[in-house]
């Protein structure tokens, strides 16, 4: 099993516990035409449903008596535009106007099981099945119309939800009329014929977000905006450091604040009040003392600590034999690349509202994994998962940070003890503290190339993270990839939670690899584009490289660094080849890097919503500027030092470069996700462009002004030495 798949299944929950069977679903639907379908894991569940309550489908759509189409899916809208692209997909196959599609998402009582919304999985895995389901529904409706109109099926066509006789347009019947008084249940058994690309009307066309109106008017409800009768707001007491142990606690001062209530469940200590700000103020009155373990390392020493204390690595990829590679090489290059911890820092902090009604619990939560939460709560609170309903309203950004649900479990515990609905919205400081960061990591690369600029040796060692994105798309006969994620004593390396952050590991791996490729190109006296093309035979990657270079207007420079500030970086994520070209300007006095222009070329297969893709590319590139230039969590042992936007610097308006999206036309291949690929090359492309602008090579990201100034200074020394 490759590592990416592992990443995905890691968060899967035990669907056996999932409460809803197909029959129960049907009971809740009185009429209409219903198509059940399975995506991914549910389709393999056939035959297991006996005795267990696991449904054999994980999404369904329904055409109601009013002609409206509802699609029920456990996916969540996080800002990635899934609601819009899924509605487009369905509307097109069904031949209904986009406006008549309602997406019902992320509610465990209404929607069948879904493992979670992450990893750009929605478009590639869900999209094709949804198309098929739409096609199936259309076929059922056309069949009904044929009977009703007494016209053979092949003479019928559909437009805007109306089935009509092609030879006699007056003979027609609407979907609403066909669905009236009917209850037809179908299950998608085999893939029906979906439309050919040339027949698509909505898929592939730019479309504005269908939820935009709610957002611009302030009507969109995020979890923190939900209000229920009798609710109170909670603020939780945050320890000073990860690993800290509570020594003493004095909450007596809180009792003097009217309406404030202290609730404790083991390490969870919270203040409740009917106003969130009063709860927060009351919390500051608590006196708590902790034992804080001594710091083993901090944000500066972390890298040496990992390398010095790592246990034996695991070889994840291997080919040829390194000794032969070494012999073939004209020149061997060895370098080390560093990348710190990065926070998700979504503007919406983790939020949840928990409400008990008798034995039933409803939890609204900002989560990417609503179906995982009932079991987490069931485990902690000892109540059956069947009694728990989770609703994920609009989620204010996820990026992999909202799959753990810590805040929702806390809210549920507090509601149980307080016997009142409790809303918990983490403060910004909580958010930084409890976040599962993208891990800090070290990458060491030893490589070699021949006289003709062919890479023949690639020995790649990772410390602290996984190998997503480390799979080579350059042709290297002798290579090895080694991953060390544990200390010699078997413990994990990190002092706090780490996890997925928009294409986990890949940004760091791509930064290291692409920097290294550029270094070799310079040594081989080759243009970086030419050097890459010289070492890539994969056709998709070559096409993307060339198309991006074309748009960017790449021309080989006479010398390196050229002073133009141009960079290239290639990458591959979830089977999407992506190449970034960038132009930067470096202020050599301050060390500040301004990215002026970025061209992002990708091969995404069939594109559902080109507008959505541009948005995701711009978003990915802009967000990527943060990890490339400023974002880095400072810490000392388990103490997180960055607890506000004052010191943890996100990208701002003045950073926004001109971003151009190039898509390779590949309509006949399946649609692929685009939320992650564009971000992976941002670190690498800027590092390479900074070198091209100044001759300074950065081996650590983020490339803060201070680090850039240091690199500029050591460049000067280097020049002095060589002249």
């Amino acid at each position: 099993m490759n590592e990416d798949e592992f990443r995905v299944s890691e968060y899967d929950c035990n669907t056996d516990l999932y409460p809803l069977s197909r029959r129960e679903f049907l009971q809740s639907i009185s009429s209409g035409i219903i198509i059940f379908f399975a995506v991914g894991e549910a389709s393999t569940a056939k035959g297991q449903s006996r005795g267990k309550k696991r449904p054999d489908f994980n999404a369904y759509l329904r055409i109601g008596e009013d002609g409206r189409v509802a699609c029920f899916t456990g996916k969540v809208e996080l800002g990635q535009g899934a609601m819009t692209s899924l509605a487009q997909t369905l509307a097109d196959e069904l031949d209904v106007p986009l406006e008549s599609v309602d997406m019902v998402m992320g509610d465990t009582a209404l929607c069948p099981y879904d493992a979670g919304t992450w990893g750009s999985q929605t478009t590639p895995r869900f999209g094709p099945v949804l198309r098929a389901a739409g096609a199936e529904a259309r076929a059922v409706l056309v069949g009904l119309a044929a009977v009703r109109l007494k016209v053979p099926k092949d003479r019928l066509d559909v437009k805007d939800g109306v089935v009509f006789d092609k030879t006699q347009k007056r003979r027609k019947v609407t979907y609403a009329q066909l669905a009236k008084g009917k209850r037809i249940e179908r299950r998608l058994e085999q893939k029906p014929q979906v439309k050919a690309v040339s027949e698509l009307n909505i898929i592939g066309k730019p479309h504005n977000r269908i939820d935009a109106l709610e957002h611009v008017t302030g009507k969109a409800r995020f979890t923190g905006d939900i209000r229920v009768a009798g609710m109170v707001y909670a603020k939780v007491l945050r320890p000073p450091a990860h690993g800290a142990k509570l020594k003493s606690l004095d909450t007596s001062a809180v009792d003097k604040i009217e309406g404030a209530q202290v609730v404790r469940d083991g390490d969870l200590i919270a203040v409740l009040h009917k106003n969130p700000d009063v709860a927060e103020k009351a919390l500051t009155k608590i006196k708590a003392e902790y034992d804080v373990p001594e710091a083993r390392f901090d944000d500066k020493s972390v890298f040496d600590y990992f390398v010095d204390n790592a246990g034996d690595g695991k070889v994840t990829q291997k080919g040829g034999n390194l000794e032969s590679g070494q012999k073939l090489a004209k020149e061997v290059v060895e370098e080390t690349y560093l990348n710190g911890y990065v926070s998700h820092a979504t503007i919406e902090t983790h939020s949840a509202l928990a409400q008990f009604e008798g034995n039933n619990l409803t939890v609204w939560a900002s989560t990417q994994t609503p179906f995982r939460l009932p079991q987490q709560i069931a485990g902690e609170l000892g109540i059956p998962a069947e009694n728990i309903r989770v609703i994920a309203p609009f989620v204010g950004g996820g990026f992999g940070g909202k799959i753990y649900n810590g805040q929702a479990v806390q809210a549920a515990k507090l509601a149980k003890i307080a016997k009142r609905p409790v809303q918990l919205v983490w403060t910004r400081a909580d958010e930084f503290f409890y976040d599962a960061f993208r891990p800090a990591a070290v990458v060491k690369i030893k490589s070699g190339f021949t006289n003709s600029g062919k890479i023949v040796l690639w020995d790649y060692s990772i410390y602290g993270m996984g190998s997503r994105g480390a799979q080579l798309f350059y042709d290297v006969p002798h290579h090895r990839t080694t991953v060390s994620r544990k200390l010699r004593n078997g413990d994990g390396m990190h002092l706090f939670a780490t996890g997925a952050w928009r294409a986990p590991d890949n940004s760091t791996n791509s930064f290291a690899r692409e920097s290294h490729i550029d270094i070799m190109a310079v040594k081989a006296k080759m243009d970086p584009l030419e050097f890459r093309l010289n070492n890539v035979t994969d056709e998709r990657m070559r096409r993307v490289l060339k198309a991006g270079a074309d748009r960017f207007g790449w021309t080989p420079a006479k010398k390196a660094p050229s002073g133009r500030g141009f960079g290239i970086a290639c990458g591959s994520d979830i089977n999407v080849p992506v190449v970034l070209f960038a132009e930067v300007k470096v202020d050599e006095r301050t060390g500040k890097v301004q990215v002026k222009r970025v061209v992002c070329a990708q091969d995404l297969g069939l594109v559902i919503n080109p507008e959505g893709v541009s948005l995701q590319v711009e978003g990915g590139v802009t967000m990527g500027l943060g990890y490339a230039l400023t974002e880095e969590v400072h810490f000392k042992g388990g103490r997180i030092l960055d607890l506000s936007f004052g010191t943890y610097k996100l990208p701002r308006f003045s950073w926004a470069p001109q971003v151009e999206t190039v898509l390779i036309k590949a309509d006949d291949s399946d649609a692929k996700g685009c939320g992650e690929p564009p971000i992976i090359c941002v670190g690498g492309v800027i590092a390479n462009a900074v070198y091209d602008a100044t001759g300074a090579r950065l081996f650590q990201i983020p490339m803060t002004p201070e680090r850039v100034r240091q690199a500029l200074a050591s460049r000067a020394q280097h020049e002095v030495l060589t002249t």
């Binding site: 939820d211 935009a212 611009v216 302030g218 700000d277 910004r428 802009t622 990208p651 701002r652 926004a656």
Partner: protein, 158 residues
């Protein structure tokens, strides 16, 4: 200390009795039920809580509610008039100037304040005016475009 505080909220008079030190953000969100104004940091560092007080954008997370006595407060809920979107709202929709939408109300009101003072801003002036509003999803490029287009639109309307 509790006191009675009266002001105009989205053109309607309101009056409430509460501790005047409390911040406007929480009074709006919990006491008055207007949840379009968002909490992002509580320290005037992100702009998610931006509202207009007497036609100026302020960060409601640090504004004591006492200080708005007798003033005019406009929140995102009050921007569309008679069911018609304000041109800035229209432009945000048309240009897809949002992803998760959480920063959007603050962005729109900050832009509103910007255009009120400078109806025909250059791109540079837009960037400067919006610089301290954070968007994690990276919608910046679209937001700039939306504000430019709204400025154009509003010029036509005058």
């Amino acid at each position: 200390m509790n006191e009675t505080i009266s002001f105009k909220l989205n053109d309607k008079p309101v009056s409430l009795t509460t501790d005047g030190e409390r911040k406007l953000l929480w009074v709006l969100r919990s006491d008055l039920g207007l949840t379009g104004t968002k909490y992002g940091c509580g320290k005037a560092l992100c702009g998610a809580c931006t509202v207009m007080v007497n036609n100026r954008a302020v960060r409601s997370c640090i504004v004591p509610v006492r200080s708005i006595k007798g003033k005019n407060v406009l929140t995102i809920e009050g921007l569309a008039k008679n069911g018609k979107l304000h041109p800035i709202q229209e432009a945000f929709v048309k240009h897809d100037a949002l992803q998760c939408g959480f920063c959007t109300p603050g962005m729109i009101l900050n832009a509103y304040s910007l255009l009120l003072r400078n109806p025909q801003p250059t791109r540079r002036e837009i960037i400067e005016g919006m610089e301290y509003n954070l968007c994690r999803c990276g919608a910046h490029i679209r937001i700039i475009r939306a504000i430019e287009s709204a400025a154009q639109e509003m010029k036509g309307a005058r």
